[in-house]
């Protein structure tokens, strides 16, 4: 039991089990879970207290490790734990270990605006090469997905063609593209118009087919449409990041044209979506922070070190400006001590197994009398409810009595009972084991999220306390820092646990001791601080 616990409890601080706990227990407050009510009180969210308190965690411990249904004896546990992770963990050789640990990850945290600014400064650099207006270079770069090398290559090869192709300049003989368009607008070809907005009386727009006094917009090609249609057209194109062209030819709208038509700086939207597709195309070096609504992008210039991480079963964890930690490799939240493969295997399994709920459906039935869930444990169809003792047939769910003497066969059921039974038993074992680990995993995930939320809430509460009450800045700051440091120390500790080689673990024994000692100290310090606030009457315990 204890063995398993150390394996499956990576992050939670179950210090209640700690015999030293009594030493810091404040006798004034006769509560088993001092931390819980301290924190609850600080957060002062009565309705949230159930969620934020540590109570839920204790319950997890309870059901995960003492619920009879989910306990495995040690023998079985040892054997099944290894087979559980379908991907065998490659042993690290001594030579590999002696080559030292993984290199530091050199990354920067960016936003789409940052990246766009960088692109603009590149553009200033390139200006002398191109010797065309900045706006036009921007179109070229946008068209080439900000790939400078490819652009320059094409530029030197076929400058003039490129300008026409991307719509910077017009074909020398402006001809309408299809016969049909020509038929509809016979007088368009060859006409040179001024780029921009005009006001026309009784203008007939071929897009909306309205005849009205209106503003119109057109590029030099003379394809002129009412401003409403142009706006609609542009609005629909802003999100895909491509160069926007005239509706009827390849002449491109520059950012200034877009802003002229839309009446505000919509071109920024277009540039942002263009940068987004740039990131998509360079997703080896750029990764979005996976946290919801976070706009940070991690840029790893040199990805060569990632291979080293994979080889040594480390995970390249990065942190965005909003303090979100995630794995650059697989994009999941930090998953130490598991490596990416194990994490992926687990996530895949979780996905697959949820489909296996169908299995549960087909192997369990509600008792037709009392509704209790009954699992079929083999081929025998003569079922007896463990709760109400009702006897019934698995196949037809009818009362057993009329089935009489054919104990193992309903008239409909003819299968090889023996193999069925074996198969069914195996499946049920696997399912039970999976369910067990899944619940542990799930609950840990939930408590990790709650911890984070708790940290956030405490932060804001401390700030409020500082403003309203007589808590010195230093005291308040101490509390905030403590929580942050504690969190980081816990993360560090679980990263240490990534080391898989037993020898290496022994070598690092001291480091483990130091780190865990450190975590412990921070924890006590934090509890002291909370207790202090209670003693001073700044916070009061609730029921």
């Amino acid at each position: 039991m204890t063995q398993m616990k150390s394996k499956t409890t990576p992050i939670t601080s179950d210090y209640i089990d700690d015999p030293n706990y009594e030493k810091v227990h404040n006798p004034i407050f006769d509560s088993e879970n001092i931390s819980s009510f301290t924190l609850t009180e600080i957060t002062d969210h009565k309705t949230d207290s159930g969620v934020l308190s540590q109570d839920s965690e204790f319950e997890i411990e309870d059901f995960a490790y003492s619920d009879d249904e989910f306990v495995y004896d040690d023998e079985e546990n040892n054997e099944t734990y290894d087979s559980m992770l379908s991907q065998p963990i490659k042993q690290i050789t001594k030579k590999e270990m002696s080559e030292g640990s993984v290199p530091n990850l050199n990354y920067e945290v960016l936003t789409t605006q940052n990246i766009f600014k960088n692109m603009l400064s590149r553009l200033d650099h390139l200006q002398p090469v191109f010797n065309i207006p900045r706006e036009d270079i921007l179109l070229l770069m946008q068209h080439y997905d900000w790939n400078e090398e490819r652009l320059l290559e094409n530029w030197t090869e076929r400058m003039d063609e490129l300008l026409v192709e991307i719509g910077v300049s017009q074909k020398t003989s402006a001809v309408a593209t299809s016969l049909e368009k020509k038929a509809e607008n016979p007088d368009i070809s060859g006409v040179k118009t001024k780029r921009g907005i005009a006001f026309k009386q009784s203008f007939e727009c071929i897009i909306c087919c309205e005849d009205k006094d209106t503003q119109t917009f057109s590029l030099e090609c003379g394809h002129e449409y009412c401003i409403d249609c142009y706006r609609h057209y542009i609005e629909n194109k802003l999100h895909n990041g491509n160069v926007i062209t005239c509706m009827d030819c390849s002449l491109a709208l520059k950012n200034i044209d877009i802003d002229t038509v839309m009446g505000h700086d919509s071109s920024k939207k277009l540039m942002a979506s263009s940068i987004k597709s740039f990131i998509q195309k360079h997703n080896k070096n750029y990764k979005w922070c996976p946290y919801a609504d976070c706009k940070c992008i991690i840029h790893l210039k040199d990805t060569s070190s990632l291979a080293e991480y994979t080889r040594l079963h480390f995970s390249p964890f990065v942190k965005c400006d909003a303090e979100h930690r995630f794995c650059f490799n697989c994009g999941f939240e930090t998953h130490a001590p598991a490596d990416c493969n194990v994490t992926n295997a687990w996530v895949k399994k979780a996905k697959k197994e949820s489909e296996n709920l169908n299995w549960v459906m087909s192997h369990t039935k509600e008792c037709p009398k009392c509704g209790v869930n009954i699992e079929k444990d083999g081929g025998c169809n003569h079922m007896k409810c463990s709760s109400c003792k009702y006897e019934f047939c698995w196949i037809c769910e009818g009362d057993w009595a009329p089935h009489g003497k054919s104990f193992y066969q309903c008239t409909l059921y003819t299968n090889d009972e023996k193999s069925k039974k074996k198969e069914s038993e195996d499946l049920s074992k696997i399912m039970k084991k999976y369910t067990f680990y899944y619940r542990v995993f799930n609950e840990h995930e939930i408590s990790a999220k709650l911890d984070w939320k708790l940290g956030q809430t405490i932060g804001s509460k401390v700030r409020a306390l500082q403003e309203k009450m007589d808590v010195s800045w230093i005291e308040g700051q101490f509390l905030t820092d403590s929580i942050k440091i504690l969190n980081e120390a816990v993360e560090d500790l679980s990263e240490l646990l990534q080391i898989k080689d037993p020898e290496q673990i022994m070598k690092n024994k001291l480091e483990f001791y130091n780190k865990s000692g450190y975590v412990e100290n921070r924890m006590y310090a934090l509890m002291e601080c909370g207790r202090d606030l209670l003693c001073k009457g700044i916070c009061k315990p609730t029921d």
Binding site: E180, I207, E210, C229, Y233, N236, M247
Partner: protein, 217 residues
């Protein structure tokens, strides 16, 4: 409400040009976003003399978003699904522009029948057929045109059910060879279609064995 005005104008433009042999009609007068269009199969192709009916759904954002078009008439063509009539054509997707009309889109479909693009297929089985054996493909496409698009021979055919093997361009001899080994005809055709085999040279034992393996599955 610009959409209604535009659609009405497009309908008028089609009526004003009977030479084009294109039709455009509402399915019901009360619903301006559901139309049926039709055009003639291009001459000199297996689709010649056929009339192809297209189901057209005009979206709310028309003409800024493309209309949804699919063939009602069954068509044997690499860029048209032989089952659903779905069409793979760029102007009906990202290359759409508001200047394109329903009429010009129908003309583009006509052009698509004229020059298929088997490398960007909608129906992989048909595209394979097209690339591997053009002559056989043309026969099948012409048969479909006769059967489903009201081509010349439709009357001559007297509405008799077409042979399944002919319908998918599979050689009769090949089917008979497997039938002589005791397999069911529809099962043989199903497997041959799945494997994309229309005919076989008699000494290609590997492929014959693969077909038999599949048949025995």
């Amino acid at each position: 409400m610009s959409r209604a005005k535009r659609i009405m104008k497009e309908m008028q433009a089609v009526k004003d040009d009977p030479e084009a042999h294109i039709t455009l009609e509402f399915v019901s007068e009360s619903d301006i976003h559901h139309l049926k269009g039709s055009f003639l199969g291009p001459p000199g192709t297996p689709y010649e003399n056929g009339t192809f009916i297209v189901d057209i759904e005009v979206p709310m954002e028309y003409p800024f978003k493309p209309p949804k078009m699919k063939f009602d008439t069954k068509v044997y063509h690499p860029n048209v699904s032989s089952v659903t009539g779905a069409i793979c054509l760029d102007i009906l997707k990202n290359a759409w522009s508001p200047v394109i009309t329903l009429k010009s889109a129908l003309i583009s479909l006509q052009a698509l029948l004229q020059s298929p693009e088997p490398n960007d297929p909608q129906d992989a089985e048909v595209a394979q057929h097209y690339l591997k054996d053009r002559e056989s493909f043309n026969k099948t496409a012409a048969l479909w045109t006769q059967l489903y698009a009201g081509g010349d021979a439709a009357a001559a055919n007297n509405g008799a059910d077409p042979d399944e093997a002919d319908l998918y361009g599979i050689s009769q001899e090949l089917v008979q060879e497997f039938e002589s080994q005791g397999f069911q005809k529809d099962r043989i055709i199903e497997v041959l279609r799945r494997l994309g085999i229309k005919s076989l040279s008699p000494d290609d034992n590997d492929t014959v064995n693969r077909v038999i393996e599949e048949l025995l599955e």
